[in-house]
């Protein structure tokens, strides 16, 4: 057939492997070559493992054991990071605080990303009145100070871990929504989407099969960024007394307790909470940078 004759300058032999490599695989291969990213990821995984072991009752089982005789012991052999007012081991409490942080970080960020992605996708894809309504809605929500919303929310639903996740999720989706919206507006008029339309693809197919995979890297990055923000928000809200229920180990609670203790030169509670938070937030932030570099198509050649 004549079409075969024209094939000579489409050198089939040059294309080696029959298995293609997606942009995702490309990105993760780049990520694997980043030392800092891999060290950060290892630290994040270490936190996860520690939280899992704590939750399963295999590690730091003494976090709730009170011993009034041993209150406010400075860091030493028996208690590496000292004890608190009730004689509880500070290191064990800080380690258990990781569970709270990770739960809030994950669910808070996940909720925000899901809401933001759906709203942004609908708004950017359809445009027109729908877009105007959604933009009106989120700019209105955005004008209310976020702490105020969370406070109001906690008062209505009552404090607790799930309230915290909900409150953080429901208040932090707006930035993500804006980004997804603008990406959808950009992609909606790309030729590959027109191509899909010409093939008879409906709205749902265009949104979920075609455009979403092309903006999904932003969803990932935003989830990771949101995670850090949620962890920090939990600490702040718990410090303000709006966070987890009293008695639940949390870094925010430890810092909150420390404000009175510091006057009595009991610094180790604050130090332990800060120390645990520092490495988690640092690891996540560095990982985010690397993730963004790896997933950004514009930086591909590096």
């Amino acid at each position: 057939m004549s079409t075969v004759a024209t094939q000579n300058f489409v050198p089939v032999a040059e294309l080696k492997a029959a298995k293609g490599r997606s942009l995702w695989q490309d990105a993760f291969r780049r990520l694997r070559h980043e030392k800092v990213a891999m060290i950060s990821l290892a630290i994040i995984i270490a936190y996860l493992v520690m939280a899992a072991l704590c939750a399963a009752g295999l590690l730091f089982t003494n976090y709730n054991v009170t011993d009034h005789g041993a209150a406010y012991l400075p860091p030493g052999a028996g208690h590496w990071m000292g004890t608190d007012i009730f004689g509880r081991d500070v290191m064990a409490r800080a380690a258990h605080g990781t569970i709270t942080s990770l739960i809030v970080g994950f669910f808070g960020a996940a909720l925000a990303v899901v809401i933001g992605t759906v709203m942004g996708a609908i708004s950017g894809y359809f445009g027109g009145v729908i877009d105007e309504l959604i933009v009106w809605f989120y700019t209105t929500v955005d004008t209310i100070p976020y702490i105020l919303l969370v406070v109001a929310f906690s008062f209505v639903v009552g404090p607790g871990l799930s309230t915290l996740c909900l409150a953080i999720g429901l208040t932090s989706w707006i930035g993500h929504c804006r980004i997804v919206r603008s990406e959808f507006m950009k992609h909606r008029d790309r030729e590959y989407v027109h191509g899909a339309t010409a093939l008879g693809a409906g709205h749902a197919r265009r949104i979920f099969v075609h455009i979403l995979p092309n903006v999904f890297h932003l969803v990932l990055i935003n989830f990771s960024l949101g995670f850090v923000t949620a962890v920090k928000s939990e600490v702040i809200l718990s410090y303000l007394g709006l966070g987890v229920a009293a008695g639940t180990p949390s870094w925010g609670m430890m810092i909150s307790d420390a404000k009175l203790e510091l006057a009595r030169e009991v610094w180790w509670g604050l130090a332990a909470a800060t120390f645990f938070m520092f490495f988690l937030v640092l690891a996540f932030t560095l990982f985010n940078d690397a993730l963004r570099d790896a997933l950004d198509p514009k930086l591909k050649s590096r």
């Binding site: 079409t3 000579n8 300058f9 489409v10 029959a18 030729e191 027109h194 010409a198």
Partner: protein
């Protein structure tokens, strides 16, 4: 020792790029000269190393991943590759300057064009801002920008593509450089604008006694302006000589192929010759199959007696331009203004016109990718403008489109296999994944690709291959009617010929009807039975393909015809 007559001598230049797959030798030990005051054309397809060569001369090869591994580039006898970065900065824009393919992205959108031209002057000639602006005005007059005293305060987006390229040229010649490197300066422009830019470059060269290195994938473009031609193929120079030698007695089969593959206005072949007709995959000459080459296009009957597949009746598409404060529309852009056309079954209607004439909008309106403002589109007796969503979706099976940019029209996150199977899933063709995979494999074979490539992603293919994939995707639903919207404009001429031949073969095999949209009348003439010329949203002339060339009626058609490069130096043809 350097020859005094040569402004630039490139000697044994090699450039390598380090990639994940290993080292790629982009330029392999090439040598050529640019004589003083002459124009050298550097010709080759994408990936031949021609742009890399010019970037090496400007020392603009990004390092890493690129590296100049050997050779020297002598400017007036002094080796540019040995200069410090500071000395090099004095040369760039001053002694050697460059213009690029895409005039929109090479200008800074936040500065006025006047400021941008003045910047070069202030940098190299230490002029004051006022003096520099005065000179900019003079330069803008020289490059033929209308109303230069007003335009000097314009931002790049306010100018047309051709005007932007003129601004780029003004910037490049501001310091009266010895050498001007023009990297595909007309590829992104319409043929009519291309001709103007080529004329301008030729004029300026005479005036300033510059040397020009003109890089292009299309030999036809440089026929009139180059004194010497260097042909590159896969990093090697395969042939160099005077323009006359190259055009009249080409030696290398690749050069012969390049010369032959451009559709010309005064011949009427059935298929276009392609490079692979002249040369096998190893770069050796192969005997020409003369019988195939000599076959003439048989002018197929197009008459009213024939079945009309598609009737476009008084179609209008107006875009609101300005909205008043209370949302009232104050003016309209008439992109398509009352167009009536008939497309006959099994034939090709060519739609030709410059950018902005409404041809693309018309194409998309026919498929209802854009809703028409008024008029009816009758396909096989059904007015599709009146169909509801479901019925329109079913109709899309019969009507397909192939876009201009094969890079943008494939979803980068989908494998080729998934892209080809998607239309089958939408329209419920084939039973299950295995049968669809089988059908996708067949489609790949049909467009001349290997079915083993189904698992690959679009970014792993070349432009020509991607366009083949787009064609395969359009064919997946077994359509009757395909709109080709500038489908070959983004491709090298050598690839363009292959795709045009493929489209012709497919039409014959599958009895397809095409509407072929292009700005290049030569391409349209080759593939079409009938041609409609569009200008300012209206069809100004309509005739069969031969008629429009032999007896053009409208002034605009005549202008389009005269803008097509003849593919032969003037004094030889």
């Amino acid at each position: 020792m350097a020859d005094k007559n040569n402004i630039i001598e490139v000697r044994n230049l090699s450039v390598e790029f380090r990639t994940d797959e290993g080292t790629v030798r982009a330029v392999k030990n090439i040598s050529f000269n640019i004589p003083r005051g002459k124009t050298v054309g550097l010709v080759g397809e994408s990936g031949s190393g021609k742009s890399v060569t010019s970037l090496a001369a400007m020392r603009l090869i990004p390092n890493p991943p690129g590296k100049i591994t050997s050779g020297e580039i002598l400017l007036d006898g002094k080796d540019l590759l040995k200069l410090t970065e500071g000395q090099m900065r004095d040369i760039r824009g001053n002694q050697i300057s460059m213009i690029f393919q895409e005039p929109m992205t090479s200008l800074n959108p936040v500065f006025t064009v006047g400021d941008q031209i003045a910047e070069t002057l202030m940098l190299h000639q230490k002029l004051s801002k006022t003096a520099a602006l005065a000179k900019s005005l003079d330069l803008m007059t020289q490059v033929g920008i209308p109303n230069p005293s007003e335009r000097i305060k314009s931002y790049p987006h306010e100018l047309s593509g051709g005007q932007r390229q003129r601004v780029m040229i003004a910037m490049a010649i501001a310091c009266e450089p010895d050498v001007l490197i023009a990297d595909e300066p007309t590829t992104a422009l319409d043929v009519t604008i291309q001709k103007q830019i080529l004329d301008l470059l030729a004029d300026l060269q005479k005036k300033y006694q510059m040397s020009i290195l003109f890089i292009t994938h299309d030999l036809g473009v440089i026929a009139d302006i180059a004194d010497e031609v260097v042909v590159m193929y896969r990093g090697d120079i395969v042939e160099k000589g005077t323009t006359e030698q190259i055009f009249t007695k080409p030696q290398h089969p690749y050069t012969k192929g390049l010369l032959a593959c451009r559709p010309s206005l005064d011949s009427n072949p059935r298929r276009l010759p392609v490079v692979s007709d002249f040369m096998n995959a190893e770069g050796q000459e192969r005997p020409l199959d003369v019988t195939v080459m000599k076959q003439q296009k048989q002018n197929r009957v197009v008459s009213d007696a024939q079945t009309t597949l598609l009737q476009i009746q008084n179609v209008k598409k107006h875009f609101p331009l300005k909205k008043g404060f209370f949302g009232g529309v104050q003016s309209w852009v008439k992109a398509v203004d009352d167009v009536t056309l008939n497309v006959r079954k099994g034939r090709t209607l060519g739609l030709v016109g410059e950018s902005g004439c409404g041809k693309t909008t018309l194409g998309r309106t026919i498929l209802r990718l854009i809703e028409p403002t008024a008029g009816s589109i009758i396909y096989n007796g059904t007015d599709i403008t009146k169909l509801d969503r479901e019925a329109m979706r079913a109709m899309r099976r019969k009507m397909q489109i192939i876009f201009q940019d094969p890079y943008a029209s494939l979803n980068p996150r989908m494998t080729v296999g998934a892209a080809l199977m998607e239309p089958m899933i939408i329209h419920n063709l084939g039973n299950g994944r295995n049968e669809r995979l089988e059908m996708a494999g067949e489609l790949m074979k049909r467009v001349g690709l290997d079915r083993a490539m189904l698992n690959r992603y679009p970014h792993e293919f070349s432009g020509g291959q991607r366009q083949r994939i787009c064609i395969a995707r359009a064919l997946a639903v077994k359509p009757e009617f395909i709109i080709c919207d500038e489908s070959v404009s983004a491709l090298d001429v050598s690839i363009q010929a292959q795709i045009l031949n493929l489209l012709l073969d497919l039409q014959e095999e599958m009895h397809l009807t095409y509407v072929f949209i292009s700005h290049d009348l030569a391409v349209v003439k080759f593939i079409s039975d009938e041609v409609a010329v569009m200008y300012n949203g209206k069809v100004v002339e309509m005739n069969d393909a031969v008629g429009i060339y032999e007896a053009p009626q409208h002034d605009y058609t005549k202008k389009l015809l005269s803008a097509i490069p003849k593919g032969m130096p003037k004094h030889l043809s």
